[in-house]
Amino acid sequence: MSGSGKLGGAALVLLLAGSMAVMEGGGALALGRVVNPVMQVEKTVVGEADKEAQGGPEFVPVTLFPTIKPSTRSVVTYWEKWTGFEGDAMRAVAEAFNASQDKYEVRILTVSNIPTKVTLATAGGIPPDVAGLFGPNITQYSMQNLVMPLDELIKRDGIKESDYVPSYWDMLNVDGKIWAMPSTPASTALHINKKHFREAGLDPENPPKTIEELDEVAKKMTSGSRQEGYKRLGFIPAEPGWWRDRFGYLFGAKMWDPATGKVTADSPENVRAYTWTQSYSTNYGRQAITDFQGGFGSFSSPQNAYLDGKVSMVLQGVWMHNFIRQFTKDFEWAAVPFPYPADQPQLANQTYVDMDILVIPRGAKNVEGAWAFIKYVQSQEGMELLCLGQRKHSPLTNVSQEFWDKHENPYVRLFYDLAKSPNAMAPPKIGIWPEYSGEMNNAFDRINNGADVKEVLAAVTKRMQPRLDKELFLRRKRLEAGQP
């Protein structure tokens, strides 16, 4: 082979590889796959009588290309992320909607990695009519022009702010417009293991009220030691470690100040919060904690640290009951409001609120149909069917007695009341939050490993401030231009 030929070959390999690098995202996209497309498929099932007549085993012919039943109704395509019982609950709602009228037919498609796929489909001009996205990212969706503002439709059909729990309604509103409607909400509370309370000589009916009491109780419930290894920890901020980016909320911190446009990652409240999380790794020993954590099973398993009795108290959401029911027997537990700092009693009844949402992507073909479906989900009937099925509470202010009676989670009212509390805290409404959150998670790790709290948080502020400046500039410009 000649030298130049070899070089040419190498250059071609490089060109291909390089382009793969450029489109790495595209490659990664292939990772997520479309699971379980729900279509109305015409099935040919051999009747019972025939089966008996044949006397053989059940025979169901399989067609390679199932035909989709043509619908005389106007079809509403709906992409949703849920699978399992949560997906089933939404399918039940879609069926109820389809049965409730004869104009539209909602067809659900289960889609993984949904924000990216909806973004790309919208960029390509073929978005679904309705998409189920994530509440904390509404600002990003609105800034990106991904979703339609719904104000006119809301006004036309008489949906009112007062119909909703304030903390949830507020999440929908960015720069004075409503960009989405709730599907199911969730809030958090401290989950305690009552048996462990009794074993430590504590009264489970009198759980810790303040963070100082929580630290105290956690110490009493802990067994084992730093030197010998732990057998049980009363509480650690790193389990389950899902809200490591916003521990500051518990101490009254904000992640940014809308009045001045400043990132406040290193505000005194945040510094206090992360000094508190660091106290656990200092007091219990970082290495001893990580060694102990090494024995924790995965979240959705009977070896879950809380369900398995390795950690006695965890911050968890309204969904935790599902796992308790699925993986444990005679597990004695209770959900109580997460403690507040003793010197800040006004922060009592705090909770993290989060919400899944329904949006109409820009360029959706069937906006009226999409809205008709979303409106149905917002009705008390539709919403309760959905939230009961997903075993969460309703985001609406009106809740039927039947809903409470039927609900399986014994603490569902607590979660609902917490969401109504003035200290119900949603993620900050800024488009840079995904990146900011990543920075805070990294900061938590560094602080946990012994880095200086103030220094680490100041570095986060320094990094995120220019990003926020740019975002606020763009948002101001959009408002001035009277868009959208």
């Binding site: 082979m1 070899k6 070089l7 190498a10 390999v13 490089l14 291909l16 590889a17 390089g18 382009s19 793969m20 690098a21 450029v22 489109m23 790495e24 995202g25 595209g26 490659g27 990664a28 990772l31 924000p115 990216t116 973004t119 790309l120 919208t122 960029a123 990003q140 800034m143 990106q144 022009n145 991904l146 030197q227 290495q287 990580t290 060694d291 102990f292 954590q293 090494g294 024995g295 820009r362 488009g431 840079i432 995904p434 990146e435 990543g438 998670n441 990294n442 790790d445 560094r446 490993n449 990094r463």
Partner: protein, 309 residues
């Protein structure tokens, strides 16, 4: 040009056309578009805004970018030589004419057909600090060594095997170890190369009284050198694009971004952060880095590469 030649040229072009169209539409166009986007502020759904070289300037000062770049270089520096030695050694062993050769070859190839996501889940279990198989094995080996040779006993009674996921120092080695498990593809290529080593060379070496080691070093490896070079180049490209497994095993590059690799930061910028222009600039920098590294690899190894017969 006569009629026949023209016809031949036409049909040649027509045969190549599907590839040309595919290449232009799915590679060349996105490639060129990404070059343009790298000079813009672009969030996919909004029209791109020209910002000149701002993305590149910002990248030069972006700590996370520099960290991801360093991580990727360190990973490649560990993974490439180890992978090369490991896969060549295995290929030489699997080339030995023994009973059940095909079976052994299959066994070593199987890991490379496991989908990366399942692979990541599997290794998450294996690397668990307390109960993972790897650390359990390390503990037992250390205990055995301590019992047999008291001199080598760990002086520190609280000694622990690596905390693969929480200790920033061990995250990259964990990935390197995993990478060694998936060398099946390289082995297959080496095995093919080994079949092409001319037998007369071995016979000549035998006549000269060469030992097996001398035969490997002076006959097999030189004759295998073009294949080694190919695998090296592919290895350079592959280790710079490492993505799926660390993205699943080390969300956000945890711990302390020790496992934040170039492609992961690129993906984060492109999709979750909606900074497609910035991500495109990263893509082009990666292209240039890989291009330069490949050129260096080819230059350095060219003198050592022998083409047979």
């Amino acid at each position: 040009m006569n009629e026949m030649k023209r016809k031949e040229a036409l049909s040649g072009f027509l045969f190549a056309l599907p590839w040309v169209i595919g290449f232009s539409v799915f590679l060349l166009w996105p490639l060129m578009a990404s070059l343009y986007y790298s000079f813009t502020d672009f969030s996919v759904l909004q029209p791109p805004v020209w910002v000149g070289v701002q993305n590149y300037v910002e990248l030069a000062q972006d700590e996370v970018f520099l960290k991801s770049l360093t991580n990727t270089f360190v990973f490649a520096a560990m993974a490439l030589p180890l992978g090369l030695v490991f896969s060549i050694s295995l290929a030489l062993l699997l080339n030995a004419k023994i009973k059940g050769q095909a079976l052994y070859r299959t066994i070593f190839f199987i890991p490379s057909i496991v989908p990366p996501v399942s692979l990541a889940m599997l290794w998450l279990f294996l690397f668990r600090p307390e109960i993972g198989l790897i650390n359990v094995a390390i503990n037992q080996v250390m205990d055995a060594i301590g019992a047999l040779f008291p001199l080598f006993r760990q002086p520190n009674p609280n000694w622990n095997p690596p905390d693969w996921f929480n200790d920033p120092a061990w995250a990259k080695p964990a990935l390197v170890v995993m990478g060694l498990w998936g060398v099946g593809n390289a082995i297959v290529i080496y095995l093919a190369g080994l079949q092409n080593v001319p037998q007369p060379l071995y016979e000549a070496a035998d006549l000269d009284g060469a030992t097996p080691w001398q035969k490997t070093w002076n006959v097999t490896l030189p004759m295998l050198s073009p294949v080694i070079q190919f695998n090296l180049v592919m290895g350079v490209i592959g280790s710079f694009q490492v993505f799926t497994i660390p993205y699943i095993m080390f969300p956000g590059g945890r711990p302390e971004r020790a496992a934040m690799f170039y492609s992961m930061y690129l993906y984060d910028n492109a999709f979750p952060f909606q900074r497609m222009g910035y991500a495109s600039a990263m893509g082009w920098i990666m292209f240039i880095i890989i291009f330069i590294l490949t050129m260096i690899t080819l230059r350095l190894s060219d003198k050592k590469v022998h083409y047979g017969s």
